[in-house]
């Protein structure tokens, strides 16, 4: 008597997850797609570094103080002419000299006025000229509560019309980042300045009362 042949081994039972329905699979695919689309939109909408660190422009008018975080600026007077009277003589230009008399006072700690530009109606920027010694820009430190009045001299294009003063204590070599910038529209009768025969003068700076 021989033993009966062994029956074939039964396949081991497997724990298999049931197949998801078509609706569930489509829902999963839709959710993944929506996540990818949302991520792409966030990346596209998210502001870039330049926008995140953009300066804070504080607009004002001539004659009124414009307060930034570190200093307060007031435009006292503006003048313009093709000639500039300095202690060393008269300087001429093919453009136009524009002088802006400012009152500057620091608020909390010693600061320097390191950024001064004039923006015209064509968004051109003119920095404070280096053809004369600037009284306020670059080399002077303002003490808190000590108002100082002085003149900033610009050399702008002859066809410049509307002029806006931009000043800040940030040096702004490339861009001013996360710092306040005073934006003051200047009363600039450019047409009259272009035909002005009398040179503009630069009064000395002084500590105001």
């Amino acid at each position: 008597m021989t033993a009966p042949p062994a029956a074939p081994a039964a396949p081991a039972a497997r724990h298999r997850r049931p197949r998801a329905s078509l609706g569930a699979r489509l829902t999963t695919a839709a959710l993944i797609l929506a996540t990818l689309v949302a991520g792409t939109l966030i990346i596209l909408v998210k502001p870039d570094q330049a926008r995140l660190q953009r300066p804070f422009f504080v607009s004002g008018t001539a004659g009124g103080p414009v307060s930034l975080r570190t200093l307060t600026v007031t435009v006292l007077d503006t003048a313009g002419a093709p000639k500039l009277q300095t202690s060393r003589g008269v300087l001429e230009t093919t453009g136009m000299w524009v002088t802006v008399r400012l009152r500057v006072v620091a608020t909390e700690e010693p600061v320097m006025l390191q950024y001064a530009r004039i923006r015209d109606d064509r968004d051109r920027l003119f920095q404070a000229t280096n053809r004369v010694d600037q009284q306020l820009v670059g080399g002077r430190t303002f003490q808190p509560g000590i108002p100082v009045e002085g003149t900033v001299v610009f050399e702008v294009a002859k066809d410049a019309r509307t002029l806006t003063l931009l000043v800040s204590h940030d040096p702004g070599t490339l861009n001013i980042q996360l710092e306040g910038v005073a934006e003051i529209e200047l009363p600039a009768p450019a047409e009259a300045w272009r035909t002005q025969e009398k040179p503009v003068t630069v009064p000395s700076a002084k500590v105001a009362e």
Binding site: M1, R16, P18, E108, P110, Q143, G145, I146, K206, V207
Partner: protein
Amino acid sequence: MTHPPASPFPGPAQPGPFPGPAQYGPFPGPAQPGSFPGPAQPGTFAAPPGPPAAFGAPAPAAAPVPGSPPGHYAAAPFQGRPAVSPAFPGPPVAPFPGPPAVPASFPGPPAAPLSGPPFSGAPLSGAPFPGAPLPGTPAAPPGAGPSRDGGQPGWWRRNWWGLLLLVPALAGALSGPYLAEAREYLRDTTTPSVPVAAAADGWSPFAGARMRLEQLTEVKNVTDRSRKPLAIGSGTVWKATVAYDDPSTEKSKLDGCTVYLEDTTGRRFGDRPNELARADIPTGSGCGRPSSSSTKTPPAAGTRYQATYYFLLPKDAAPASVWITVPTESPSYARLPRP
């Protein structure tokens, strides 16, 4: 003589009370009606072993095992509902998270004891009925029991913890890249912000030396070098004298220092500002050992020496302390209180 098993699926027989023809029947599929080869529920399907019920014959009524607790079906004697043999490799039963264990066509447990002819419909699985529990059975806890489709909890209940973790994960992912920048801008370590307090004797240890504010006085009638009154508006000039004790003989950390005068409102004023450039005051700056003969500061003797500083303050400002700052020591600085 033994006969080979007739079934091609001779899986291990479960020790059910009716190890009958399910193992030896000619059909490898569902168990034959009337046979009960499945695992016996305590007190449910327990019955004395015996010959398999004839095909189509009425199933014996379930009889509770003496001493066993009442089961799900103890209240209603079961009639004619065959179970699936565990050896049958068909649809998964209770331990498997598969589709509903009971066919959809099964209407659920009877609300009343069954009677009449034996049921010959779809085979009954070993899983409990997914429907409402019979009277006397405890209700399943919310979320833990079968879902509406009777197989497994719903998607929300299976993934609630993942959804919960998604909230902090999303917040971290969105804010993480900006933490370093925020720390840089909110805690600028290049500016003095952590004062080194003075000891009881007034000396402050800082930058490898000691220093003390010896004197802080207002300077009246400040003139320029031509003896004319200096135009400083309504401001007032203050003179501070600081004593240093610096044991360093060569390069001192104090060489690169900057000195400020702080008023009671927290404003800081610099030493010898532009407005005092023409004033008739001793020149000099910094905290190093005086060595130039051009200054009016007495030369240093030993490790100790003095330095004087001049500040221009508004009329309404009241001095409070002198700051000694060194860039390499930032954000720490020496804060010398007014004596």
